[in-house]
Symmetry: C2
Subunit: 207 residues, 2 copies
């Protein structure tokens, strides 16, 4: 199971399996120690022990042995580059899709769980070897999706326009804007989903 989290989804993550220890991935922020402490303190109150992948001598082995993996938010480019540098992209995909290990991502951690990071909102502060990501789901996500603000004086492109520009490119997958949920499909009408909607069709029909 794959979750985009902020609060109560932590609990679902727990209930899904007999997860007692979570492998935390702090690569999206510069200060990995501080980020790990924050995550560890919070998850402890929810009953989990936390190992951080940056504290282990062998990150690939840590992923292979993890009961559950949680990738925290921050900068998506920095995160994806580190995941490739540590050779974790394929490993995480395998543990989730083949072994059924739980995965939870927050913001940047959600972006890297999709087909690609092409629809992140983040600044490209480092250059990853590709924008292709872990690919746990056959679509892309735009976290923190915001509606266009007609009163804004900002001259740059608005979020919706950016996603439409993405769909001007050939062979682009659908994009789920996670406000509550707004689904962009290349060549189709954009659709709004209420909280609690069943979006499981995206797992098989996401083009």
């Amino acid at each position: 199971m794959i979750y985009d989290c902020t609060d109560s989804l932590h609990k679902k993550f727990l209930f899904n399996r007999e997860v007692k220890r979570i492998l935390f991935v702090p690569y999206a922020l510069h200060d990995r120690d501080s980020f790990t402490k924050t995550a560890r303190d919070k998850l402890k109150t929810l009953g989990y022990e936390v190992d951080s992948v940056h504290e282990t001598p062998d990150p690939v082995d840590a992923v292979r042995k993890a009961e559950g993996t949680f990738i925290g938010g921050g900068n998506t480019f920095r995160l994806l580059k580190a995941l490739y540098d540590k050779k974790l992209v394929t490993e995480i995909r395998k543990t989730v899709l083949e072994d059924g290990i739980s995965y939870m991502g927050s913001s940047a951690g959600t972006n890297v769980s999709t087909i690609s990071i092409n629809t992140t909102n983040d600044m490209p502060i480092v250059y990853p070897p590709t924008f292709a990501a872990i690919g746990l789901v056959p679509f892309n996500i735009n976290p923190h999706y915001l509606d266009p603000d007609p009163s804004s004086k900002h001259m740059g492109e608005m979020r919706e326009q950016r996603i439409i520009q993405y769909h001007e490119e050939p062979d682009t997958p659908c994009v789920l804007g996670l406000r509550e949920a707004r689904l962009f499909q290349r060549g189709k009408q954009t659709t709004e989903y209420e909280p609690g909607s069943d979006l499981s069709f995206l797992l098989t029909d996401a083009q």
Copy 2:
């Protein structure tokens, strides 16, 4: 001379040299014909003829022969990828830095004129071969710079925080936030510049 334009700088572009014809680069938007028509109609009212690089059989040759080059705004990733695909990055750098040809960029066209596109606000809808850009100036720019909005409910990172994250990476150049102008230097205090300020020191002292 290099200009970030929106309005009156068009005129400076003209006054700088005996420029009668401008080479327009519409790669940042999907509909290049429509974008060219908009630019052509506007620049005609200012007294210029416009050739668009996408209408020429040999873009490299068009850049070599241009009296002045204007790169329009849109998506910075799409623009930079197209500039590399057409082998124009080095050519434009040469014409400006060695031959003194005028360059004008708007938004994405400003980003690609700097060291790298690492501080663009745009969505990474395509994957360019590198984030290194034309490098007409020894610093980076963040166009449409916005101050943090304390009332915002947006959960993603704010602009200032994103640029600070960029400077957490090693060997990163200074970043000029183009509102009026706000200068970010790695390890130094952020400085505000009023409109009309002389920023020419950036050309030699931009680390």
